[in-house]
Amino acid sequence: MPQSSSIAARSGSQVTDTFATLGRRQEIALVLSIFALIAFFSFTSDYFFTVRNLTNVLGQGSLVMIAGIGVAIVFMSGEVDISVGSLQAAVAIPLIEVMNATGNLWLGLAAALLLGLIVGVINGYLSAYVGINSLIVTLGMLFILRGGVYLYTGKTAIPDDAYLESFFVIGNERFLGVVPYPALIALILLLGFMYVMSHRPFGRKVYAVGGNAEVARLAGFPVKRVKFTCFIISSVMATISGILLASRLGSAVHLAGIGFEFQVVAAVVLGGVSLSGGVGSLLGMALGVLILAFMSNGLGMLDLPTEWQLVITGIIIIIAVAFDEMKRRRAG
């Protein structure tokens, strides 16, 4: 058993190595696009290239980035999770309700994480163990959570009546007055998970399972448990982004996170993480997030009708993925 798993680990690392080289080229292209975007928007608006604005964008992109870590890992394992937007709205309810009742931030955070974990367990169990297509499971979860939020709140927002300064700070203030706290949290999580995905056995297992589940199973990987864990990571990450959003909104807003899943999926695929599993990097995802965040900020400063943002984002996604596929076929 130890022998077979070490073989599997080795072959898994070989797989990740090839993809790593392939991925690195992709990431260079993404970094270049970001520089091009920054240069372009600095030219079109005087307000774009300021410390205040650039750090703003980092803060704004961080919610997508945090949820994106989880969704990207689920994608890498060959599954999908589109319930993150509804979960963002749902976790804010126990968070705010418990804080209002107890006046304690930590109890509120624990309640939110508990709901996130439960959702992750359900998503993971139905997808990994029962074997229902994860698109359907998480689509169903998207509706159930959103409907549940509407029913519970009666379609109003639940205000934060505890007024905890610490709760305000995590979403709204800046570390040392410069870096928004959400950006700092996103960076720490990103670095942590990048380490796990490239240097820990779990990361190799995810790539192996996503690359070819049957081969991974024969090589002795616990396919179902790996996928199950990925769903839990995704829900926990979405929960953290939901907590930060609740701080920025000072309440549990029933409308929060509608369409958030599209933003996350867009950033993830733009970053080169494939829907078919086994491919992509968290760094790529993070760069994808930054590109979309800079675009949204920069286009917002041009006096364009906002619909152009939708159109341009749609076009970029298609082109990026098409380009990606082309490269992969050429390499393969």
Binding site: N53, I158, N172, S247, G250
Partner: protein
Amino acid sequence: MQKILFAMLAAGTALVAVSAVPASAQDTPKRIGYVVNYATHEWYQNVIKGMKDHAAEIGATVEVKDANLDVAKQVSAAEDFIAQGVDVLILTPVNEEGVVPLLRRAKAAGMPVVLEGNPVKGMTTMVAICDYDTGYDAGVAAGKYAKENLGGVAKVMNVGLPLLSATVLRSQGFMDGIQTEIPDAVMVHDLDGGGNPDRALEVSTAALAQNDDINIIYGINDSSSLGGLQAWKAAGKSQDGLLVVGTGGEGLAFINAMENEPSYRIEAAMFPEKNGYTAIDAAVKVFNNEEVPPHIVSPTAPMIGDEWSKYYDYDGTTRSIKWDAVNALVPPAKCTKTAADLK
């Protein structure tokens, strides 16, 4: 056309300028940032139109960012405006609780803020119509109409939108208003039409099939009332003995309906252009640290039959507001009911 419109706007503004602006010279903000909650809606397009036209009059520019009903995006857009250093921020909250921290940060950054539409904890001032009163006045008018033309019977189908407090208030106001004329008026069906024409059509179809005694359709916006009416027509029913009441007067759809549909007799007009105009006036005042009331009410009026032409010119493709008539309307000093009364 644009020239005529502009001339009329100028004439209207001149009139208001004489009556409204105090003699003391004001500083004018140069750049005004407006974060709209949903720019694809005709209502907000006309609010923006009113803002831009009036801002041009006083030598300011209005920049618009669209939150597109996304609470997170709204906060980001306002952040961007603060970073860009606009002189005043105008904000239509997607959700009134969701911008409380934002107002606190704007205050910390020394940014004057005017709210449009909905009140928010900690705000300086808000420009808005009174939703309840708008519904109420339309309800009274509908009651009178029903007494004369519908044999005093009022069985109402409310094509509502429970998602927003403003639209809930309109429906409540309508029922309270109609009951002053017809005490036993009832709401037979209370629907969630999503504020969308196709959803309104779909849910109305089912409700009309269930209750064939409905004789009044109330819609919280024009899409809702029109969706209800289209469901009625699709069911093959005659419009005799039906009254449709719309709310908003958002775009062109209601003018078309009032011209062509025999049952579409009452429109609770809310004059979005005037709302935008008033918001710019309020922005100038907060920019100058002047004393402002917490709620600046923008007027509304029920328009019955062809009364819409009193307030609007319509040439088949665009409408233009008649500022004299709209500026002559006297808004209530205070709303009878607000979102706070729903809790």
